[in-house]
């Protein structure tokens, strides 16, 4: 039983960044823009968030407060960076995948350049402690206390709250309905007076903000509030896209997909602790490959009847109506 609790406690901080970034990708694609730049935006957000921690960690502020402000910094920087994608793909009608790829290449290079010049390292290292051993009172709840309120990070709760808020935003508000219309049939949306360009801007900006937060949560929950230009976010931006496809562009399904991937990753990194798997004697590499291989297999089974937004990837041109 302890092993299961341990795995779940390891899984959640991994699942949350995947969930948030996949939700970001979903909002962007639901508005009609393919956001392949998620990986770069994540690193951008993570870098600024951690930079903020770096400069404030010596102050007397409560670490969790620093974390919350850092999150807002990461969110804003992700949002600002995503404007590049919005401008390129909405105003200039460029190929969205090319613009996204350029954005992914840009960030690691800039991070490495500035870190090497000003910190003489590949990234930023901080020594803040954001780990929460136990939440008082709540951790005494049987089962749930062990799963949710021990050995965790604040990221988990914020992520779960955001999931609820964003699901409501997509399905129960006027904004959500309009956004979805722009991804399915922009010309119809335009004909009833919805500004397609504006909605797409909102979609991309929302995805940028979420990817920024997701990147920051990655660096807090997985790499102990450090960030490196070399390893970046280890392909989490791309994994999030796969999670989004597996979740068929629906928030709750995306949540479960993120949990599955995070579970596989947690499993891969805790082999020595699980006697059954340790005895199998499989090479460590196999478990490292597992999340990526699982993504591939899952995509094979879910892509045939894909529910992708119909107008995604196609620049909107008013003249074609």
């Amino acid at each position: 039983m302890d092993t299961i609790y341990y795995l779940i406690q390891k899984m959640l901080p991994v699942a949350i960044p995947l969930l948030l970034v996949a939700l970001g990708g979903m909002f962007s694609e639901r508005s009609g823009i393919i956001n392949i730049a998620l990986e770069g935006i994540m690193l951008f957000g993570a870098y600024f968030g951690v930079l903020f921690i770096y400069f404030t960690q010596a102050s007397s502020m409560n670490p969790q407060i620093i974390f919350l402000i850092g999150m807002i910094v990461a969110m804003i920087s992700g949002l600002v960076y995503s404007l590049l994608l919005a401008f390129g793909s909405i105003n200039m009608k460029a190929n969205q995948v090319i613009v996204g790829t350029a954005m992914n290449m840009f960030i690691p290079a800039v991070v490495l350049l500035f870190s090497k010049m000003f910190f003489s390292s590949d990234g930023i290292t901080t020594n803040i402690i954001l780990y929460i051993n136990e939440v008082p009172i709540l951790s005494q709840i049987p089962i749930l206390g062990d799963i949710l309120f021990k050995n965790t990070y604040l990221t988990v709760y914020i992520g779960l709250i955001l999931l609820v808020v964003l699901t409501i935003l997509l399905y129960k508000t006027k904004f959500g309905l309009r956004l979805r219309a722009c991804g399915e049939h922009p010309h119809a949306a335009d004909s009833v007076g919805i500004n397609v360009y504006k909605m797409r801007y909102f979609g991309v900006m929302l995805s940028g903000a979420l990817a920024g937060i997701g990147g920051f949560f990655y660096s807090v929950g997985i790499t102990d509030a450090n960030v490196s230009g070399h390893s970046g976010v280890a392909g989490f931006g791309f994994l999030a896209l796969a999670v989004m496809i597996f979740g068929q562009w629906k928030p709750i399904r995306i949540f479960f997909a993120a949990l599955l991937f995070a579970f596989l990753r947690a499993l891969a990194y805790s082999i020595p602790l699980i006697p059954f798997l340790d005895n199998l004697g499989l090479d460590q590499t196999f478990y490292k490959i597992l999340p990526y291989l699982a993504t591939l297999i899952v995509l094979i089974f879910t892509s045939k009847k894909s529910r992708a937004p119909k107008a995604e990837g196609i620049p909107y041109d008013k003249a074609l109506r």
Binding site: M103, M105, A242, T285
Partner: protein, 379 residues
């Protein structure tokens, strides 16, 4: 001669729009914008040395011509790989994985098989091609038959490929020297023939790569298959309606694309080297090959045209060599990646931008002429 020049000038004057609409001009503009931002980043990072560093970035490559050729070879091949798939509308972001697979196959043949000197190199190169094809055809089959997005699958295959290659090397006692955490050095029998440019590793594979680029150009322009490929890239539905077999062509295109990237891996590892560890050996450290991603840059900059790709590979290799020299002024080689990514960003919509510049100039000219006419009539 004078006549010729004045004719040319006249032509330029009268064809504003045509010149600004050419993709060559668009690329040139993207490069210029990229360079400008590169200078800007250098100014932000360290203003006092910016101009000197920028000069190195631009012209430093000329002092290392042999190395420019040497480093251009692998990215020329991965560039061809990405560009070829792109002609059909497939985005092969997995060139890195295919490159690494090719590299591994060449390494394996080089170290594990004992063949006579003349044949050994050829077998290693062919093996690399097969390795790359193997890794490239998987996304192709999945895309054709199961509608799986090739971008995601090939990214996943990048990670799987790198980890798999590391695993296969580390668990092979003959290949791997664990104390040095690298593979053995390849024997000289599989080394590529050097071009003999002093102080550099430039070798015969650059010429072979240019030959392959020409071959790709011929395939795209002069064969039915190439025509079908380009037609599919332009309009998938129309080409299917016209009876072009989309599924088969997707698989073949990815097969060829993977093979080209695999050859890139072989050309990189089989090159003779006067810097220890630069080639002829591989360090399994689980990092996705940068040459694959640079191939995307090369292909986009070359507008997916095989001949254009030769020049863009040389250009990117040139500024990479220049970029390493900026460290003399306290900068880091990453400045090159900054410049390249900005160039790609702008080249994605440069054509549109240059169109509008051309239109603007033309309309201004027409307005001017109109004004002149009006003023003449007034007289």
């Amino acid at each position: 001669m004078n006549n010729f020049i004045s004719n040319l000038l006249n032509k330029i004057k009268h064809n504003y729009k045509d010149i600004f609409s050419s993709s060559f001009f668009a690329t040139l503009m993207a490069i210029m914008i990229g360079m400008f931002f590169g200078l800007l980043v250098m100014l932000i990072a360290n203003p006092s040395n910016a101009m000197a560093g920028f000069g190195k970035l631009l012209f430093g490559g000329f002092t290392k011509f042999g190395d420019v050729l040497y480093f251009a070879t692998p990215i020329l091949m991965t560039g061809l790989a990405v560009g070829f798939a792109f002609k059909m509308g497939l985005f092969n972001i997995g060139a890195s994985g295919q490159y690494t697979m090719g590299l591994f196959f060449a390494l394996y043949v080089g170290l594990m098989w004992d063949l006579p000197a003349g044949i050994h190199w050829i077998v290693a190169v062919l093996a690399a091609m097969i390795g790359g094809m193997l890794w490239g055809v998987i996304p192709g089959i999945l895309k054709a038959h199961l509608n799986v997005n090739e971008v995601i699958t090939s990214i996943m295959l990048n990670y799987i490929g790198v980890y798999l290659v590391d695993f296969l090397i580390k668990n092979n006692g003959t290949l791997f020297i664990s104390v040095e955490s690298r593979t053995k050095y390849l024997p000289e029998s599989v080394q590529s023939l050097t071009l003999g440019i002093p102080g550099s590793n430039a070798n015969i594979t650059f010429i072979i790569a240019v030959g392959i680029a020409v071959l790709m150009y011929i395939i795209l322009k002069k064969t039915t298959f190439g025509y079908e490929l380009v037609a599919t890239g332009m309009n998938k539905h129309a080409s299917e309606y016209a009876g072009i077999n989309y599924k088969r062509n997707t698989i073949i295109a990815m097969l060829i694309s993977g093979g080209l990237a695999g050859l890139g891996g072989a050309f990189a590892i089989l090159a003779p080297s006067n810097i220890a560890g630069a080639s002829m050996t591989y360090e399994p450290v689980g990092i996705i090959a940068a040459n694959g991603f640079n191939g995307i840059a090369v292909a986009l900059l070359g507008n997916s045209n095989p001949v254009g790709i030769v020049f863009s590979a040389l250009f990117i290799s040139h500024i990479q060599r220049g970029g390493t020299q900026t460290s003399l002024f306290g900068y880091k080689p990453e400045i090159v990646d900054v410049v390249i990514s900005i160039i790609i960003y702008f080249s994605a919509f440069a054509l549109l931008m240059s169109h509008s510049i051309g239109k603007y100039l033309k309309s201004r000219k027409e307005k001017k002429e109109l004004k002149n006419e009006i003023s003449k009539e007034g007289k």
